[in-house]
Symmetry: C2
Subunit: 388 residues, 2 copies
Amino acid sequence: MTDPRVAGVGLTPFGELSERTGRDLFAEAGLAALDDAGVDPDDVEALYYGNFMGELAEHQGHQAPLMAEAVGLDVPATRYEAACASSGAAVREAVKTLRNGESDVALVGGTERMTNIGTAAATDALAIAADDLYEVRAGMTFPGAYALMARAYFREFGGTREDLAHIAVKNHEHALPNEYAQLRTEITVEDALDAPMVADPLGLYDSCPITDGASAAVLVSEEYARHHDLTAPVAVTGTGQGGDNLALHDRAHYARTPAATEAAEEAYADAGVEPGNVDLAEMHDCFTIAEVLALESLGLYEHGEAITAARDGETHATGALPVNLSGGLKAKGHPVGATGVAQVISIAKLLEGEGSWADEVGDADTGIAHNAGGTVASTTVHVLEVVE
Amino acid sequence: MTDPRVAGVGLTPFGELSERTGRDLFAEAGLAALDDAGVDPDDVEALYYGNFMGELAEHQGHQAPLMAEAVGLDVPATRYEAACASSGAAVREAVKTLRNGESDVALVGGTERMTNIGTAAATDALAIAADDLYEVRAGMTFPGAYALMARAYFREFGGTREDLAHIAVKNHEHALPNEYAQLRTEITVEDALDAPMVADPLGLYDSCPITDGASAAVLVSEEYARHHDLTAPVAVTGTGQGGDNLALHDRAHYARTPAATEAAEEAYADAGVEPGNVDLAEMHDCFTIAEVLALESLGLYEHGEAITAARDGETHATGALPVNLSGGLKAKGHPVGATGVAQVISIAKLLEGEGSWADEVGDADTGIAHNAGGTVASTTVHVLEVVE
């Protein structure tokens, strides 16, 4: 058993791309990944694909074979749906299959179209990641759910809207040089605090945007990489998955996400690393508070300690633990089904010493990606390391 | 590497259950499977779950953690969506994971609610398994697509509506003693031929019904079964998956389903069996013609030969190769996301010598289940064998 390598990656720009179809977006990302990897497309053995709201946004389910065809691949293709963790689930499955020697080359990726249906319909579509009977019909939306989590956090551990604003400012700054990012605008703490309230205490800048986009990566076995002389120094060395009750009211705590802890503990053990080994992280910051909860649940901070990490510069590109150097969901954008793979891409590029902020990151050799669905009812965590 | 055993199974009745929620249906099937298996629910390590149209029929995505909770399990849960092959894809993943020693106990299953939205909306929802841009917007529905496949078959190989009617009559007869089946009504060839035309040459009795229901099975490692003295003589010894272009117009032939052939060849090789070893089969007969195409694509008949199999009694319970002893999708019903696991359940029970038609089947030791999505753009094939 050896760990699969990240041989190539591809992204569309993230943003408002409502005039393009899902297949068009995924073809661009998938073909870019194959080109970047330099693998013969005929060697690809399967597509592991994430999508969340295609039924509602495009009247299109059964997308996996459609997307394989869009990339020109005649391979088995499966769609994974775990709300906003859909392509994280796809990565996990590809990693397991490659490791077990059942396959040598896999394409993983995801797509989401959201802006074509408008913000109100997209918010309604996103709500199907929550419990329809007990949350959505009572008026719950995701800004509301994460606002409850933020309030619970403030009550238990302290924290202020200004602490959260520093996270938004940091992630917007991180997105500035990212040519794929949706929101490449510098903001200040005052901008964030003065912005319209979405769901108290979360304002506009605490919330990720509605985004279209696609992501893809070619994962190969170590044997294949060696045999084909591929430049693929980064491996996925750890994978973990956790689950929790779907509805927030069924949780013991609103300010903790134990599914992420389960996933992280599995991934750390799988990779043979400790939280202290992690040099950089992509955390699922659909809202600013989510970055705090993730850092704590993954053991990168003690509970109650991550709320000030951005304010203190610790999670900035120049800090001890850079978080969301891509801009995160907050500023890079969050095309739901594409996000999990996009996080892996960000970590892989930085570990290879490429992309924006690579100079600041320096000789980092271990990164982690945390992808979460709903109010963290589904989570995958992947550890990536430089292995040669 | 050892093959996982089918330790326990559970089904809801299949039919019109529109007053029940999806979670209620899956809880019934899942708890029945756990009870039948006699395993400690705390031993279950993951849920592999299939669902197709929850977003449209229940405004509920992200169903896997919801369904884990409904069964009382605090485990990672992933949804697989491959149109009508969704829970076949879930079975495949569970089998791979158990085989590789990563896990000892898995719950697999699926649910679909369809009747609550009515036949017209369900037909529209089913259409998202086809290509929305190039098929659905042009008016294509699945009865229409399979009618094209039937016409192409008749043109290339010959065959009549009466040949298809014999398949419907057989599967209705098979469903008669199945207490879970939706259509327990005996029909004649004349009934089928006189029924309203749906899409020429397919009439009402060539088409499976719209169905609500859930299915679940507990799969365990051979080691776990032995250690816990479980009665689980049937193993999943082969798994295969195939993919094809989503749209029918992108296929070389309308009367062949190469994705099923790919999946079958992989599954046969995996199990170390030949088509000639197969004693009984569950084929994905969403329409009568689909049973013909499946039998041929799986190598159980030569191309052009399966059209008369039912007429000649060969695929009847008393024939050489009993097909769809459960009643098939045609008469048992087709709650889409539940179908793949329900097929596995039917085969497993018969191989254990239980259930309706077990006496006719006698000492069968090898069965096969073929689950197909769309116009067979996604397919899984599983081989089950009596191993002790």
